[in-house]
């Protein structure tokens, strides 16, 4: 039988304590936005390498080539500039490469010859260098195909599995919502419990004529409500600021709500185990980043090694991201179905609440 009064009182107490910890609540809200910003910064570095373009030819054919460079699978952010400035910029690390279209480019091509483009690459980072090296053949094949040059015998024909393209930042920010929920709700859930240890008020739980579990539920409801406000704000930024409109609105709301409840419960469990705020807050932040990557936040996790994919199943973020990507972008990023992912999240929540209640009950009895 649910002890509504105990739950309500515990929730009211937690709300009162949170209202006295405004800096904490403000920081938590800031944290939710921080993750969106951080993953956006990462996403921006994944495409459109800033590249100096020096066109000495300036003919329709060279302009057509530049258009193909620009369209080469989001590879280049072309910045026309004189060679002196380009040399300066590349040595300062402001651009990744310099592409020079030599004089006589179109003449040479029209006469059936091959023209040579000098390309200077800042090869300080092997990953960026590889992107530039691979993007140039893409632009060159597209250029040759559009101009119908004879002698090209093979072409690549693409068939997309998904009927729409999702931008990288759009993809990342939706995953970041799960990350934000993990950190924000986790920390609030943890603080709700560690405060009882640090303030030595846990002994008072023993005096309460109700089961510890109901007090825990009440505190979790309050912490979840505050976390939900922060996540709603982050969600609105994703929808309005990033124009990532959910494909399934009710699904998105339900997924975020489930994430908040789950991570608040996990936070409470961590709080009950660690009993101190300082390491728990840092732990959630520190765990968030590796969990984020090992949960399919950047791409379906199974595309990375099978072992990583297996390990990812131990993180609730894996299923959370699966559900969120479906609800926002209509994508299936896990081999498991939507129902399976939702069930896993529900089981995680039940596990966290039950274990936290058990740990707290034991500690209260000891106290």
């Amino acid at each position: 039988m649910v002890d509504v009064r105990a739950v309500r009182s515990a929730a009211r107490l937690e709300f009162a304590q949170l209202s006295r910890s405004r800096p904490l609540v403000l920081l938590v809200v800031l944290e939710a936005i921080t993750f969106l910003v951080l993953v956006s910064l990462f996403g921006l570095t994944g495409a459109r390498a800033p590249t100096a373009l020096i066109d000495y030819d300036r003919t329709p054919l060279s302009r057509s080539f530049v258009e193909h460079l620009d369209a080469a699978h989001h590879s280049f952010r072309l910045l026309p500039m004189p060679i002196e400035r380009a040399n300066d910029e590349i040595s300062s690390g402001n651009i990744v490469a310099i592409i020079t279209i030599p004089k006589g480019f179109s003449e040479q091509i029209r006469s059936g010859g091959t023209t040579v483009l000098p390309v200077t690459v800042d090869n300080v980072d092997a990953d960026l260098t590889a992107d530039v090296r691979e993007a140039l053949p893409s632009a060159i094949t597209a250029f040759a195909t559009s101009n119908g040059f004879p002698g090209v015998r093979v072409s690549a024909v693409e068939h997309d599995v998904i009927d729409h393209e999702t931008g990288y930042v759009d993809y990342l920010v939706v995953s970041a919502l799960a990350l934000a929920a993990f950190v924000v709700a986790g920390i609030l859930g943890a603080v709700a419990i560690t405060r009882e240890y640090e303030g030595r008020t846990l002994t008072q739980w023993r005096l309460a004529p109700v089961h510890t579990g109901w007090l825990l539920v009440g505190k979790l409801i309050a912490a979840s409500a505050v976390a939900a406000v922060a996540i709603t704000l982050a969600g609105l930024i994703v929808v309005v600021g990033y124009h990532a409109r959910p494909a399934h609105v009710s699904g998105a709301i339900a997924a975020l709500a489930l994430c908040v409840v789950l991570f608040t419960s996990l936070g409470a469990l961590a709080g009950a185990l660690f009993r101190r705020t300082l390491p728990v807050a840092a732990l959630f932040f520190g765990l968030a980043l590796p969990f984020y990557v090992d949960s399919g936040a950047l791409e379906p996790l199974r595309f990375d090694f099978e072992r990583l994919w297996t390990a990812g199943h131990f993180s609730p973020l894996y299923s959370a991201i699966g559900v969120l990507q479906w609800s926002f972008h209509g994508l299936r990023v896990t081999p498991e179905s939507l129902a399976q992912n939702t069930l896993v999240l529900a089981l995680w929540t039940a596990f966290a609440v039950l274990v936290a209640a058990a740990v707290l009950s034991r500690r209260v009895v000891r106290a």
């Binding site: 800096p23 459109r48 691979e134 990288y168 603080v191 520190g286």
Partner: protein
């Protein structure tokens, strides 16, 4: 003052752990990312048994930088792998490929799980490059006019070739390029968290009253606090740097050790001073932990620790000029990855200026509080 703070921090292992955990998390993140950004799993079906198909398959198999190839016998099997997300794409060299090559209209089909443009574009670029290698096996071997071999263009049907000049003698691996700045995150997080913790602890335990009553000069108080934080940081950082140097992860070129250590030292002073300032504003350990980790993250990310500043929008690049850690990270990369020390002096001067301003602000703020 320094001895007292050192003793307090020695008895706060959780505080030190709280500073180390985010850096450790970032290290794991970068290691995992190294796996994620490299080659993608792709299934290959070679339906044609002719020599041309074998050449095409050989090109695809040889490109181990781009593909983790699984050769499968049937398209159905490849499709199953794609559905199970065991591969990101399937490439099919269809039956009749050889005849298509003879006619000049052969096709290589690929089915792509275009879940986002990052992974999709990577595979598109790789397939295009493989196709170019079939028709232009010597692609990229021309010499630009003016270079040795004066303007030698190796003909190819695309009529465009490239000649690449690398700015550096060696490529630095993605792993190393991203991992080493994590050391700076450790410095920043340690400095801010330890510095802030000391201040907030004084308030939380009300021991600030004793400090206010002690006949300490304002400057002694601040310098003592900074010294206590710095000594704690040294206790953590010296073994880490020594281990990385012993392992060969930190291996700066000859003569680069002094500027590298100077960058670490000035970043440590800066973060300890920022921490001391934060400790004045915040009075609870829970808020200190959150605020310190958040500030350290912003300083690290906006400074280019996890991103390449040049890729960011103009306004963010302008903003990052006001972020002191940008100079620390730029300087650190220059001392470790480049043969010269171009720009390091400027980075160090700017970093020291930021550190100086932070220390002065600390003297003023802490002094005012104790007064």
């Amino acid at each position: 003052m320094a001895r007292l703070d050192l003793a307090v921090l020695r008895r706060s292992p959780w505080g030190i752990a709280a500073a180390i955990i985010p850096a450790a998390g970032m290290l794991v993140l970068v290691k995992l990312l190294t796996v994620a950004v490299t080659a993608q799993p792709v299934a290959l079906v070679v339906a044609d048994r002719g020599p041309q198909a074998r050449v095409m398959a050989k090109i695809l198999k040889a490109d181990t930088d781009s593909y983790l190839l699984k050769v499968v016998k049937t398209e159905e099997k490849a499709q199953h792998l794609l559905e199970q997300q065991k591969v990101a794409a399937t490439i099919v060299i269809p039956h009749g490929f050889g005849r298509g090559v003879a006619r000049g209209n052969a096709e290589v089909h690929f089915w792509l799980n275009n879940v986002n443009i990052d992974i999709a574009d990577d595979i598109r670029r790789s397939v295009d490059r493989s196709v170019v290698q079939f028709d232009a096996p010597q692609f990229g071997s021309s010499a630009a006019p003016g270079a040795a071999g004066a303007g030698l263009a190796v003909p190819n049907p695309y009529r465009v070739d490239i000649t690449e000049t690398d700015l550096r003698r060696t490529d630095v691996s993605f792993d190393l390029y991203q991992v080493l700045p994590v050391l700076l995150l450790l410095v920043i997080a340690l400095g801010i968290l330890c510095g802030a913790l000391l201040g907030s602890r004084d308030r939380e335990r009300r021991t600030h009253v004793f400090l206010e009553l002690s006949p300490l000069r304002r400057s002694s108080f601040v310098v003592g606090r900074l010294l206590g934080t710095l000594l704690t940081m040294l206790a953590v950082l010296v073994p880490v740097v020594a281990y990385l140097a012993w392992k060969g992860t930190i291996a700066p070129p000859h003569g680069h050790w002094p500027p590298f250590l100077a960058i670490l030292a000035s970043t440590a002073v800066l973060s300890a001073a920022v921490g001391a300032l934060l400790g004045i504003v915040l009075h609870k350990a829970s808020t200190v932990a959150l605020a310190a980790v958040t500030i350290a993250s912003y300083l690290f990310f906006l400074g280019g620790g996890f991103t390449t500043i040049a890729f960011l929008p103009e306004w963010l690049r302008t903003l990052s000029r006001a972020v002191p850690t940008r100079y620390a990270i730029d300087g650190m990369r220059q001392t470790l990855f480049y043969p010269d020390l171009k720009g390091v002096a400027v980075d160090l001067v700017v970093l020291c200026m930021f550190a100086g301003v932070a220390v002065l602000a600390g003297v003023f703020a802490l002094g005012r509080r104790t007064a």
